[in-house]
Amino acid sequence: MAQDDILARLFPEGHDVRVADGIATGTAPLGDATATVIGIADATPLGVEGALSLAGAVLAAVERGDAAPILVVIDSGSQRMRRRDELLGLNEYLAHLAKSLRLAEARGHPTIGVIHGHSAAGAFIATALATRMLVGVPGANPTVMDLPSVARVTTLPLDRLEALARDTAVFAPGLDNMVAVGAVHRVLDAEAPLGAQLAGLLAEMPDRDDRDRLGAERGGRPKAAEIAARVVEAARDA
């Protein structure tokens, strides 16, 4: 879905979100509040400039101190895979964005990710996956790596991978698989108004990171929650 269309559906009362070079920033009414909106449009890869500008919008919201919601609306590529970005330390820019979102949360801003298009790898981790609650719009397509690339790296035949992907959510691309591992909390109903669903999420924010528990319940990550809990248990006894 194009960024204009999704924004119009998420914020039927209007918004002032502007997109420049694929990077979206602005505000929009959500429930009783005026939410800060950041995002990536048109499957744009996230490089140093984009990450810095998104983090700047988040920090500005923190510094305003209004504790209003922050929405992260994503249709991105992966991180920008250029030598210049690496030379400049892209890892720090992406981490800075994720940290800024976590800081905002600590200052009382509910943070909600909405993935409606593509996203992958570092761009996904630094944006949608750095929110407290992530929802998907049907048709969204998050990936870590597409299957032909996985086939190349693992030297497994593509048809074998495709067969495996039918039995496990753990490696293959797609929204359903990201729901199954617990990364995406829920999928919105595309037939119902999105704006009202979005506002309704504010009342359901989890009080802690519950993604590993969701992954266990949904079967996509059978062991993660149990392993993390056992480590905590062992640390208490040490």
Binding site: R82, A95, L129, V144, F171, G220, A238
Partner: protein, 298 residues
């Protein structure tokens, strides 16, 4: 061989923990006998490791109570799978609760384990969140980057989330590996076989000069130990002031070096006229002292 003479780069995760911490002080959580192995590798006919490539536990560093995680770069490139990631998540959550003097993450990773990509990617997001939460609770999280696989992919993002980072010359930090960039944009963009280019773009010296690492150390446990201790004491709080300072620092870097074509151009701009790759640790340390730039804004 004395323990401090061993090369960190050549060492294993378990040996690194032994060499770094005070003698006999390490208690491992979910040790190999617990067989916390990957539930997914068998699908791909790949061998498992009893620790899934990461050792986590509690020990002492110069008498101080620390939690430690060490990745084994030789097993699956140190990559994050479901169990590997969950062990680090658990360690960080325990740190939030128990408040040791620090958490040390001994990185050696290429990023997400492709066979478990969705689980690994989600785990990386959970780890970054848990690092922030440990830091909010006042526990510094210190990264050490000096292994074969460096800290790449999601590992680079985790490194960027830490309170402080110490790197060795061989300790490469980045997101997209040179091979990935070359595959996507061609050899003219990044010749992954040009080792000198790889080192000066992502290596520990470049990161230390430009603020991507907070300390630089020789490839040996004793040096890394004292650097890590220094960073524990210097760790910045996780608050709006620190992130604003980081923002200004990263904006300044982009403005000053955003049009640079290659690392030496950036080094000259910083007033470094020496042949950086040729400098030994002491000489390089003197250069770092001369240009200043220690920031603590992370």
């Amino acid at each position: 061989m004395s323990r401090d003479a061993a090369s960190w780069y050549e060492s294993t995760a378990r040996a690194r923990i032994g060499d770094l911490l005070d003698d006999g002080a390490f208690t491992e959580f979910l040790p190999p006998g617990e067989r916390a192995t990957s539930p997914h590798l068998a699908l791909f006919d790949l061998p498992e490791a009893f620790d899934d490539g990461i050792v986590v536990g509690r020990g002492r560093l110069d008498g101080r109570d620390v939690f430690v995680a060490a990745q084994e770069g030789r097993f699956m490139g140190g990559a994050f799978g479901e169990v590997h990631g969950a062990k680090l998540v658990g360690l960080l959550r325990a740190a939030f609760e128990i408040r040791p003097a620090a958490v040390l993450i001994l990185f050696d990773t290429g990023g997400v384990r492709l066979q478990e990509a969705n689980a690994g990617e989600t785990a990386i997001a959970e780890i970054m969140r848990a690092i922030c939460e440990a830091r909010i609770a006042g526990v510094p999280v210190i990264g050490v980057v000096g292994g074969r696989a460096g800290a790449f992919g999601g590992g680079g993002l985790i490194a960027g989330t830490c309170s402080g980072l110490v790197a060795t010359e061989q300790g490469r930090i980045g997101v997209s590996g040179p091979e990935v960039i070359e595959t996507n944009h061609g050899v003219e963009e990044f010749d992954a076989r040009d080792r000198a280019l790889v080192w000066r773009t992502t290596g520990g010296k470049h990161r230390a000069l430009t603020g991507g690492a907070d300390a630089f150390a020789e490839d040996a446990a004793a040096e890394l130990r004292s650097a890590a201790l220094g960073l524990m004491d210097a760790a910045a709080p996780f608050d709006a002031g620190t992130l604003r300072a980081e923002h200004d620092r990263l904006a300044g870097r982009l403005e000053r070096f955003g049009s640079a074509q290659d690392a030496p151009e950036i080094w000259r701009d910083l007033g470094v006229t020496e042949d950086v790759p040729a400098l030994d640790t002491a000489e390089f340390g003197a250069v770092l002292d001369r240009i200043g730039g220690r920031h603590g804004a992370r």
